[in-house]
């Protein structure tokens, strides 16, 4: 490593006289210099509050973000750089630590290779000395409310979440040594430094002068969290190419609704119908509708087939409605008009104007929708049923899909037998 350059600028400390923040900043810079870091190898991520005034004090790269969010910003910088020779140091106060507690836990959980320094002055300095979630209950006299909830123990929380190293030290310890130890660690290290606020704490809180925080040091032996890079292939190349090889007799466009229950293959039957139509030289659109909990209730699909390119994909008055279960029926029955051609399973509904067939019986629970689709293709002659057979050819369920299509053909034959 090249000779270390001074990490600290000559700029005057922006803190109130006697404020402990100055010691923290000097210790951070000293520890980096002792470890041999050059300015351009260090990224200081700062937060909001008195501790957020540190940027001009460093000759390093700096990024000054939002209140409480700097540990998350630090995670992004660390993973984005993905360079073990660069060191990310995040500095925040106790206010920031509670606003963004989740960010600290997440950095610890992933054991991101960065150091978070929480400068805990036990209050909100910049806004007038109000108590924070890291303040102690020992300042009873000063507490404005009856709130006697214990403060967060961020050191322990980070440890529980998986931080490689977390430590709390009081203001009689040597910060530089502690910081060096933390910065040297691979993985997430958190250092909670104690810093007395001269302007608010020392003036208003009589107990503060004598208050010594309890020290704590915890470690986890874990591998460092990284973001995996990989080579990927085009999503377009993964799409199935559908080259027209059949012809269709449709001259205009036709809207179809397929309705059934979750897990009943409604969406895939609709997709196969659309694909078969494309193989027959048509344009097609397909969309699904189902409850948020996809594993229960209705499942409805809308398909538009057209000789001409399709713009609007809404379907107000479907020409064809296929229904294979009660759930599906309840969802789409209001969409049926006098001009709708309805194909419905025998078990669901009977109406003399509907085409009522045993789709469930021939297709099974998962194949009924495909049987209904197949029946309609045969009945209407929109395009050859071979187009649908072609679509299912390379499916891993090819046998059962073929069975569902053939089942529908048998239903057709029964019709012919009736007519004879």
């Amino acid at each position: 490593m090249e000779a270390a350059k001074k990490i600290l600028t000559n700029i005057k400390m922006p803190f109130c006289p006697g404020c402990g923040h100055g010691v923290c900043v000097k210790s951070i810079s000293k520890s980096l210099e002792n470890l041999g870091y050059r300015s351009k190898d260090v990224i200081i991520v700062s937060d909001i509050g008195c501790s957020g005034l540190v940027d001009p004090l460093f000759t390093t790269h700096t990024i000054h973000g939002l209140h409480g969010r700097s540990p998350a910003l630090g995670v992004g910088v660390t993973l984005g750089l993905d360079n073990p020779n660069k060191k990310v140091i995040v500095i925040q106060g106790d206010g920031g630590a509670t606003i963004g507690l989740q960010h600290i836990l997440e950095a610890a959980r992933r054991n991101i290779d960065m150091t978070l320094v929480v400068i805990n002055n036990l209050l909100y300095g910049m806004t007038g000395g109000q108590m924070s979630g890291l303040s102690t209950n020992e300042f009873k006299e000063y507490k404005h409310s009856n709130d006697d909830a214990d403060p967060y123990d961020v050191v322990n929380l980070a440890h529980q979440s998986g931080a490689a190293f977390s430590i709390r030290v009081n203001n009689i310890s040597n910060f530089t040594d502690v910081l060096e130890e933390a910065i040297r660690i691979s993985g997430f290290s958190l250092v909670e430094l104690s810093s007395l606020c001269t302007s608010h704490g020392m003036k208003k809180i009589s107990e503060m002068k004598h208050y010594i925080v309890a020290e704590e040091k915890l470690t986890n032996n874990r591998s460092v969290g990284v973001s995996i890079k990989r080579n990927t292939a085009s999503l377009l190349d993964k799409s199935k190419i559908l080259t027209p090889q059949f012809t269709s007799k449709i001259n205009d466009s036709i809207g179809i609704v397929i309705a059934g229950s979750a897990g009943g293959g409604v969406q895939s039957a609709a997709k196969m119908l659309a694909q078969a139509a494309i193989l027959s030289g048509l344009y097609a659109t397909m969309k699904g509708e189902y409850p948020i909990t996809v594993g229960t209730g209705f499942s409805v699909a809308e398909v538009i087939l057209s000789k001409k390119p399709i713009h609007f994909t809404g379907l107000e008055n479907p020409k064809v409605v296929m229904v294979v279960t009660e759930d599906g029926w309840n969802k789409v029955k209001n969409r049926i008009t006098n001009s709708t051609k309805v194909f419905v399973d025998t078990k669901v509904s009977y109406n003399s104007t509907f085409i009522t067939k045993d789709f469930l019986k021939v297709g099974g629970k998962k194949g009924a929708a495909l049987s209904a689709v197949s029946y309609w293709i045969k009945e209407s002659g929109v395009f050859p049923i071979e187009a649908l057979f072609k679509v299912v050819e390379d499916s891993k369920y090819v046998t059962s899909l073929q069975k569902a299509i053939k089942g529908a053909e048998e239903l057709r034959e029964l019709v012919y037998a009736d007519r004879k």
């Binding site: 940027d55 990024i63 969010r69 998350a72 910003l73 694909q275 494309i278 048509l282 809404g314």
Partner: protein, 371 residues
């Protein structure tokens, strides 16, 4: 017409946008899944060179800012509830001048509303999303070809203007599958990301004539760089109310407004001698395309303007609108939010709105309003 030379597939715009973003040079997708942006999440997991699952939307955008400051182009996809959480950090990214792309798939609000119902209701929120009323580039694709090319423009604009860019879509637009000839997708422009040569000393927020400061990432070995979300000077250090720091903040508006024509896209289907114009955007564009055909078939002369850079609004859009006697806005929201951007809420005899709430606006509904 489908021919044997076409490469037809069943595809949705989520897939097209994801692919176009990667081909345009986006490096990483960071997301938290939310309906109806879920397809972006799953396709990105498959396609992006790097993919991260954030624990919440605030973390997602903060991580993205970190990646961007480190020189990468990050992408996320969300819907209004996620966007609401991201708003503070979006302002930070804007102030720091960090390139990135956010896909917002609109759904029916307010609040969590109906997650699986499409809408075009987030426009006004986005218009004011940067405190102070600063412009933020928002692209709204109207079909698959737009989805492809505007995604490329989004990455290009983000890099060239050092700004977050939003791709504003809607549920029906990104979840509906269609037959599509992917041979029609043109090769995408490769975007130059080498920083301009700068005369030392490098100041991270000092801009030249193009109003955009040269970007050097955190951790680079050449220049010390600083990023700052608070009002800052050219060095990137907090300065409250100095002429330099205020000018630096003003510049954020100027860089996007002075060069608006570089990233302002629209499609005008002009009918010679028409007095009527339909203005539309996003998911309502296809219904408007059909409505135009219906109207023209019945002998009505009418033109169609599909706005693709929906915000900020370029003078070209105002000029086109001003050149017609009556204008009908076609949008899937309650009152015509884009109309209100142009004409305000006040009634205007020149202006009509074809709107729909809770379902898709249909071609015949637009036709009826125009007539």
């Amino acid at each position: 017409m489908n021919t044997k030379s076409s490469k037809n597939v069943m595809i949705d715009a989520s897939r097209i946008i994801t692919e176009a973003l990667v081909q345009s040079g986006a490096d990483v997708f960071i997301g938290y899944p939310i309906t109806p942006s879920n397809l972006f999440y799953s396709y990105s997991k498959e396609r992006f060179p790097e993919f991260l699952a954030g624990p919440d939307e605030i973390s997602v955008l903060q991580w993205m800012c970190g990646y961007s400051a480190a020189g990468k182009i990050p992408v996320t996809a969300t819907a209004f509830p996620g966007l609401a959480l991201m708003t503070e950090t979006l302002n930070m990214a804007y102030m720091m001048e960090l390139p990135m792309v956010l896909i917002i798939t609109q759904r029916l609000g307010p609040s969590t509303g109906s997650a699986t119902t499409g809408a075009q209701g987030d426009l006004k929120f986005l218009d004011g999303i940067i405190s102070g009323g600063f412009p933020l580039p928002i692209f709204s694709p109207s079909n698959f070809n737009d989805a492809w090319t505007l995604s490329n423009k989004a990455v290009k604009t983000a890099i060239e203007f050092r700004t977050p860019v939003i791709i504003l879509t809607s549920k029906e637009l990104v979840m509906t599958q269609r037959s599509f000839n992917i041979n029609l997708l043109e090769p995408l422009e490769q975007i130059n990301r080498t920083p301009k040569v700068v005369e030392p000393p490098y100041k991270p927020y000092k801009a030249g004539k193009d109003r955009v400061p040269t970007f050097y990432p955190l951790g680079n070995n050449e220049y010390q760089t600083r990023f700052n979300a608070s009002t800052h000077d050219n060095d990137g250090l907090i300065r409250k109310g100095t002429p330099e720091s205020l000018a630096n903040t003003w510049r954020l508006r100027e860089k996007l407004e002075e060069r608006i024509n570089e990233y302002s896209f629209f499609e005008l289907d002009a009918d010679d001698g028409a007095d009527d114009l339909i203005v539309t955007w996003g998911v309502s564009a296809d219904a408007s395309r059909d409505a135009i055909n219906l109207l023209r078939k019945n002998g009505k002369k009418v033109s169609l303007l599909i706005v693709k850079t929906i915000l900020p609004i370029s003078q070209n859009i105002f000029n086109i609108i001003d050149s017609f006697k009556t204008v009908t806005f076609a949008e899937e929201n309650m009152t015509g939010l884009y109309k209100e951007m142009i004409f305000g809420k006040r009634k205007n005899s020149k202006v009509k709105v074809a709107t729909k709430f809770g379902s898709m606006l249909t071609p015949s509904e637009i036709e009826e309003i125009v007539n």
